[in-house]
Symmetry: C2
Subunit: 788 residues, 2 copies
């Protein structure tokens, strides 16, 4: 069931009530416009847009410098096609929104400008190409704009807004950090500059001010840590220094003259001891304190702006629901209400795929006293109500029970089923999986182990058969039974692959062991399930599961940054570094084809494969730079083959990727974890559950509490039959609220915030909502504050 947005509810309400132009609804409400609106939001339209966005981005693979070279005509035609699609999508959007709303939105203008720029650049480049003049395809940097600005990727836009909002604050910390770096560099210059220091490789270092700044910046990232620090560090000297200082303190009568003569008489007492103190101070101040401060600032801002975004969303939703109510309301006594017929029409329109019984349940909840109309308070909750995943369980008896009831209900069968239902059954199989994991790790050359694999396969198949025997098959393979599907698929894939492999081996000697390996690895993944069943790991697992959807956002963010840096990197460094196979005879093969790299760490580390010669290599290099280690080797390597300022490119990437984006990612995980700790049931959910219980259509509450039993409880035929504890079951149905586990952090936060807005509060108007600043007071606490 797709998520029902308050947006759609409002639109549907406008459609149902046949309202004319209303300046509070940004979308047109004529029947044709609504049809276009639904078309605009269809999954295939969205998918197509994404496809063309990624096609446009991936053009970099085929354009000069190409991984797979294609003629210029081909790539430019594809690009024009993409741009046309984007233009069409934009026009479609223009058709369904009011003109003033459309032109006020910077997104739309951004896209239009980007399309124009791309076309202009393409035309200029094409024209120059005819006359054989080489020019730069600068508009390629513009391409990620489409990914950011198309309405579907709201999450990415929010992440970008979050970055933009954090920038001013982080700039101050960064300036202070740079100030500290420059000051330490100045000290380093004075302390070590004239002492002819050499690295372990015999290269001079700490000579030039800018060199020092760069070396110390790298030290902040710890990437060059022992090498730059330890090259000349005389351990004994620190102790000698401390020793002498102690002496000096104990005998303060020594004159300055004596101290000078003392220090000149002992040549070992150089200022080398300063090294250690200097580097320790530097690492503490810059690596530990400043890097933590960056995280603190980013996290603080992230939280503040997340709160603001969530608040805006919550108020927006409330406002839209009020508008929808106003469109549908009719007078009833002293109050305005929505009639049942109208309500049904609305729900059918926005959620065509929910069952009649489910709709009846919702109506019973909204219209508690069955008065035939819904009051404002209940109506405002409609969007939430529709979005609560209520699972309709059809109670059916087991097909075997119908075909041969005697056998199925015999004592042996009853016992077997109770064994399978017992927790010990699950645990036994957990142990078997663990043993299997050990066997996988063992050397598989021995024949016993390959026999053991057959035993394990047989055991797993028996497990599945037993479960299908015990539970109703349709319930076992239900929509929400992810783990059952997972197990079954893996087992049958393994079975097929093993049989296939054995046949192939005996007939053609072709060994597809690799296929089997992968199947076994998937099998090992089942171990996750064991972990998940241990209560104490729950919060952690929940956090991990909940962050998966937002991970995609960060993936998009990273993609955008990588694309931009890759395109710039290719312009700057293309062809400067070549990779030659180990036994190549090309000149300077060991120096990556560039004599400037002779004796450099880059060439010695055999990093020649890491270059900017095409889009794919650039991505790999950027990935390595993200992981930070050895990034100075790359920076120095590329600076050697071009010019020293080239290091700025690497520093810029480090700042953008590691200092900003990785910290935002960490903030996001911190927040997700804290929110997870404060997870509560929402009011609306509680209301629904109460109603379900009242109507006697619920599964027992005890079972619901213990979510790990869900799979066992999914078709509670036996329990219901046995006890009959629940009251009348009108249509052989039970309802159950789907697990609250698989939700994004955003959804959880929004729910928490909504619980804070009293139902009577109509919230600010549309205009006010859009101008909310993070400083505005928030009703009550939000986010992690609840966590403790």
């Amino acid at each position: 069931m797709a998520e029902v947005a308050s947006q759609e509810l409002l639109l549907a309400a406008a459609f149902v009530s046949d309202a004319q132009y209303n300046r509070n609804i940004p979308f047109k409400t004529s029947p044709e416009a609504v049809r276009l609106y639904y078309l605009y939001n269809r999954w295939f339209m969205r998918t197509a847009t994404y496809f063309f966005i990624f096609l446009n981005l991936s053009l970099a693979v085929f354009e000069e410098p190409a991984v797979y070279p294609l003629p210029f005509l081909a790539t430019s035609l594809v690009e024009v096609l993409c741009l046309l699609v984007f233009f069409g999508r934009l026009m479609h959007f223009a058709k369904i929104t009011h003109r003033n709303v459309f032109w006020k939105d910077t997104k739309n203008i951004c896209i239009m400008v980007a399309i124009l720029l791309s076309l202009t650049d393409l035309a200029i480049y094409g024209a120059l190409r005819i006359y054989n003049i080489k020019s730069v395809r600068w508009s390629r940097i513009v391409r990620p704009i489409f990914l950011i600005n198309f309405a579907e990727s709201r999450q990415i836009r929010r992440a970008f807004r979050s970055i933009r909002n954090t920038l001013p604050e982080i700039t101050y910390v960064f300036l202070l950090f740079m100030f500290s770096l420059l000051m330490f560099s100045l000290m380093a210059l004075k302390l070590f500059g004239e002492r002819n220091l050499q690295t372990a490789e015999g290269l001079p270092y700490f000579r030039d001010y800018l060199e020092i700044v760069f070396d110390l910046y790298v030290l902040v990232t710890t990437a060059n840590s022992p090498d730059v620090m330890m090259s000349q560090l005389a351990i004994q000297n620190i102790l000698q220094f401390i020793w002498k200082m102690a002496l000096f303190c104990l005998f303060p009568r020594l004159s300055a003259q004596q101290v000078i003569s003392l220090s000149s008489r002992m040549p070992a007492f150089d200022f080398s001891s300063w090294y250690a103190l200097f580097f320790i101070a530097f690492v503490i101040v810059n690596t530990y304190i400043f890097m933590s401060l960056f995280l603190a600032v980013v996290y603080n801002n992230y939280k503040k702006h997340l709160k603001n975004e969530i608040r805006t969303l919550a108020y927006m939703k409330r406002r839209k629901m009020i508008e929808a109510f106003n469109l549908l309301k009719e007078e009833e006594g002293t109050q305005f209400v929505v009639r049942e017929a109208m309500w049904k029409q609305l729900v059918k329109l926005v959620a065509p795929d929910i069952s009649n019984s489910h709709r009846e349940l919702l109506l019973r909840i909204s219209d508690d006293e069955q008065k035939g109309f819904i009051d404002k308070k209940s109506f405002l909750q409609l969007a939430d109500l529709l979005n609560i995943q209520v699972i309709t369980l059809k109670i059916r008896s087991h097909p075997l029970g119908q075909w041969m009831p005697r056998v199925y209900r015999s004592a042996v069968s009853q016992f077997l089923r109770s064994v399978v239902r017992h927790r010990g059954f699950v645990w036994t199989y957990d142990v078997i999986i663990l043993i299997n994991a050990v066997f996988i790790a063992l050397d598989e050359e021995s024949p016993y182990i390959s026999y053991a694999e057959w035993v394990f396969l047989a055991l797993y198949i028996i497990e599945i058969l037993l479960k299908v025997y015990t539970y109703e098959p349709r319930a076992f393979f239900g929509k929400n039974q992810f783990w059952n599907w997972f197990d079954t698929l893996i087992i049958f894939a393994a079975l097929t692959a093993t049989i296939l492999n054995t046949t192939l081996k005996s007939t053609t000697k072709y060994n597809s062991q690799r296929i089997l390996d992968i199947v076994f690895i998937l099998r090992v993944l089942r171990l996750i399930r064991i972990v998940d069943s241990i209560q104490r790991f729950r919060v952690i697992m929940n956090t991990l599961i909940n962050i998966v959807p937002t991970m995609l956002t960060f993936g998009g963010l990273t993609l955008v940054v990588y694309c931009i840096f890759a395109i710039i990197g290719m312009e700057l460094f293309h062809g400067k570094i070549q990779f030659f196979p180990p036994n190549s005879n090309a000149p300077y093969a060991l120096e990556c084809g560039n004599p400037a790299l002779k004796d450099s760490l880059f060439a010695r580390g055999k990093y020649c494969k890491n270059n900017f010669n095409n889009f794919a290599s650039s991505f790999i290099v950027l990935m390595e730079l993200t992981v930070v280690n050895q990034w100075h080797v790359f920076a120095n390597g590329f600076a050697n083959v071009t010019a020293q300022p080239a290091k700025l490119y690497f520093i810029a990437f480090h700042i953008v990727m590691v200092i900003i984006i990785v910290n935002i990612f960490v903030s996001f995980i911190l927040e997700a974890f804290f929110v997870e700790y404060s997870l509560e049931k929402s009011e609306v959910e509680t209301a629904i559950e109460q109603k379900i219980q009242e109507l006697g259509m619920g599964v027992q509450e005890e079972a619901l509490q213990d979510e790990q039993l869900l799979d066992n409880m999914e078709s509670p035929d036996n329990d219901l039959e046995g006890e009959g504890g629940t009251k009348a079951q009108p249509k052989g149905l039970v309802f159950k609220i789907a697990s609250k586990r698989y939700r994004t952090v955003d959804a959880l936060l929004q729910r928490m915030f909504e619980a804070e807005i009293p139902l009577e509060d109509e919230g600010p108007s549309f205009e006010e909502i859009l101008n909310l600043s993070p400083a505005t007071a928030v009703p009550g606490d939000l986010t992690s504050e609840r966590a403790v």
Copy 2:
């Protein structure tokens, strides 16, 4: 003025009231015991204790394996001396506490056991030594216990408690993390194990399961990042793989047979493309997500337990103040009060060094209506009241104004003084310092630059003279005028050094440029002041300043961990790796004297100096391990020369130091930053300020608000003379509350918490306070929740 603890107030109250044994006061209150109590807390007793603790710890430098070898007799005598001192200290403590309190405290028992263990070990070792039997001095690991358990280092104990409390939670995350690591390792074994992979250095890798686990663990710390990941990564293959997958999706009709033949026909399409996906997944899950989760768990626990500690402290203080009140109270009408005489006696006892006028001010605040007694509510605030640093400013006219009033008050002099007072004056000198910094960075061989140094020196001297001329000299060099002292000292040091250097140069040709360098570097430090004067950098600077005291705690914590690991490390790896000077002829000089290191990264990186041959070297190695980079090289190196399980030592250090302690440090900085954002004036402070203003003894509020003007306002003679805006100034005094900037995070938090306890609330009893759990509800919000 020393901090007045509620503890001391309670004791003083007991002393004043001549109370007998009271089970609510843990200390004895007989006059002799109180004298002993004060002696126990004297600064020299504390300093002596610390001295012997560090002496005891530093014995490791002189014991086998020694940096400076001393005979066993000498070190053992010093150790016995230290132990005697500790025992004496403990006995002293026993004298002033009640017996049952003393024996209930685990600290004391810990110390006694540690002393006994040390003595036993010393005796056994000495006895065995006589018969020339080598044994292990295992009790040396016990030594850090003295640092942790002596009452003075409460902060370190709290940090250890914080670690202990975090352990269970972090264990769960760690288990999950290990599970993920083991699973990924299993996959790696299956995917890459049989492909004969080689590193860039031609060494085999990814063969053995435990090797893989270790390599991947190192990858989590990113220390071996590009090397382990990129050794065999075929960039093209990823794209080929994606390309073929796309083809496969587009033409789903291809049979399995065709796919197999397709993949067998293209030898380049190996599973190498799995590499990239595998490593990307690994880095995202383990490096980014799990490492953030560690931080999240540590931070969450840190916050929770910090809150609990602060709450306990706050309640404890309240309870002690109530007990003190109960001891001193007398009936007055319907309520109990403390008489003025009693109050004065008490304050004189606990704070003997505050001036009469200051005490009068406090009395006026406590006894608002001058009734001759202090009620309970005011009495409870006494500890806070005494701890607010009120600066007594004596208003004196400038000595020059007294000696030659005509000249000093002339128009030129007035103008000059107003120029100096102008903000532009400060800015001008800020610019001069910046220019000076540039000159320092420039090459100083040129004669112009050394002349310029003289010009700058002259300018700085003029600045100081002008300031002394404008402000009253005694105010200029007042107690809180840190920056003035700093400037003056640096300038005169620079002046002396420059003159000395020039004389030495012209007479003996001895160049002490280095001394000058350091002076100039200190001069560069003045730049910090410029930064501090920019409003936007304030919060950041405040955080940085406030964390300095707690940094010492973390220093102690690190010292303890380092000591323990250094002692274990010396036992394990002593003498296995030798350092030889570059031109040595010793066998295996290039392999650090150990043939097992031939061709290892350790020997090639010239890390031979990093060994565990003595205490100092061990510390250096541990420092490098803390910074993480290249730690696997160390681990592999030491594992090669001893045994493979030696790696466990390095992994254990990584877990303790990087995963736990560094994360606690980061949590601490995060929290400090958030608290700084929510800084508010406390109620008591506001009361005092009001009183000061009421009594007309205050500096204008506007001046107070703008703290950066403090130095200019320090002796506001002119303003007061000119305006006479304030009322009668009884004793030529003004009071001012000292800057709120320089406070620890703890103090800020405690203040925030106390503001939450209503004055009527007596809080729980002593027993209840000590048993408070973090889960107990807290009145109101605390810590960073206010920050947003």
